[in-house]
């Protein structure tokens, strides 16, 4: 399994995403926002968290129009798995690869805490390592994490048990109809080591490696 982790100016969590994917047995290569193609032989793509282009205009808006996105769109159209975490989720929504958009949190605060999630859909490549109804404990850290949209336009994959952000229908993660493109605000890559209090995030990366 070869995973391409995409870096934009302002990406922060690419190292954690690399470690998480490698922990699941993947070989990882970085792609750069200005590249016009993905690294050779990449099976899956991860867009990591951060503040690409300083979150200017709208979070993910400028990154979603960068050259690498054309290659990611082609990969997604072929059915290739794509995972967007936090800012990566915002990028995928802005690119139109996922429904909806991410709005400022209802309390207008940066929220950094552990959240409990329910796996609603275990049929995507990313959640194949979990069972529907399973509970995952994974941290969030964002300012613009309230998903706003019509859940019927995609497949709700993860829901907050108690949503601190103000998302439509407590959506924490959603996939496209085909299921191969998924985004979530929580950070599974920061929940892969017992030192960080939870290893539940591994399931998403292991799901991919299956």
């Amino acid at each position: 399994m070869r995973v391409g982790v995409v870096r934009f100016p302002g990406s922060l969590d690419h190292e954690s995403a690399r470690r998480a994917a490698e922990g699941a047995g993947a070989h990882v290569e970085y792609a750069w926002h200005a590249d016009t193609r993905l690294p050779e032989g990449v099976d899956a793509v991860v867009l990591p968290g951060g503040f690409s282009y300083g979150d200017h205009l709208r979070p993910g808006a400028i990154a979603s129009r960068s050259p690498i996105m054309n290659a990611i769109r082609r990969h997604a159209d072929r059915g290739g798995p794509v995972l967007g975490i936090c800012n990566g989720f915002q990028v995928l929504c802005e690119a139109g690869l996922l429904p909806g958009t991410l709005r400022p949190n209802a309390g207008l605060s940066f929220v950094c805490r552990q959240v409990e999630l329910e796996v609603v859909d275990a049929e995507t490549p990313w959640t194949a390592g979990a069972a529907a109804g399973a509970r995952l404990s994974i941290p969030i850290k964002n300012h613009d994490g309230a998903w706003f949209g019509d859940p019927e336009e995609g497949r709700v994959v993860l829901r907050y048990e108690d949503d601190p952000l103000g998302s439509t229908d407590r959506v924490a993660g959603i996939a496209n109809r085909a299921g191969n493109v998924m985004g979530l605000m929580p950070h599974p890559e920061e929940a892969c080591d017992p030192l960080l209090g939870s290893t539940d995030g591994r399931r998403l990366f292991e799901g991919l490696a299956r």
Binding site: L57, A61, T101, P104, N105, A106, L108, F148, G149
Partner: protein, 79 residues
């Protein structure tokens, strides 16, 4: 060269926490009669084009506003 002014506002019905925070602060400062407050942004573009409004509208559609949650208005500043 024209100056195109694009005004982007959160769409009616979409929660605007920034507007709510500003409203709360205005009320705390003692201003009376403050109703709904909404915060948007103004984008000024120096543009050399034969049809600046049409070009700016395309900019709105392709980048400047997200139609899911924002409305945008384009005008040319004659000054």
């Amino acid at each position: 060269m024209s100056k195109v002014v694009v005004t982007v506002m959160p769409r009616e019905g979409v929660l605007d926490p920034q507007g709510q925070a500003v409203r709360g602060a205005l009320v705390r400062l003692g201003f009376e009669g403050v109703g709904d407050v909404r915060v948007g942004k103004r984008i000024e573009i120096q543009l050399d084009a034969d049809e600046p409004v049409a070009v700016a509208q395309e900019m709105v559609d392709r980048l400047l506003a997200n139609p899911l949650v924002e409305d945008a208005h384009v005008e040319v500043d004659a000054a």
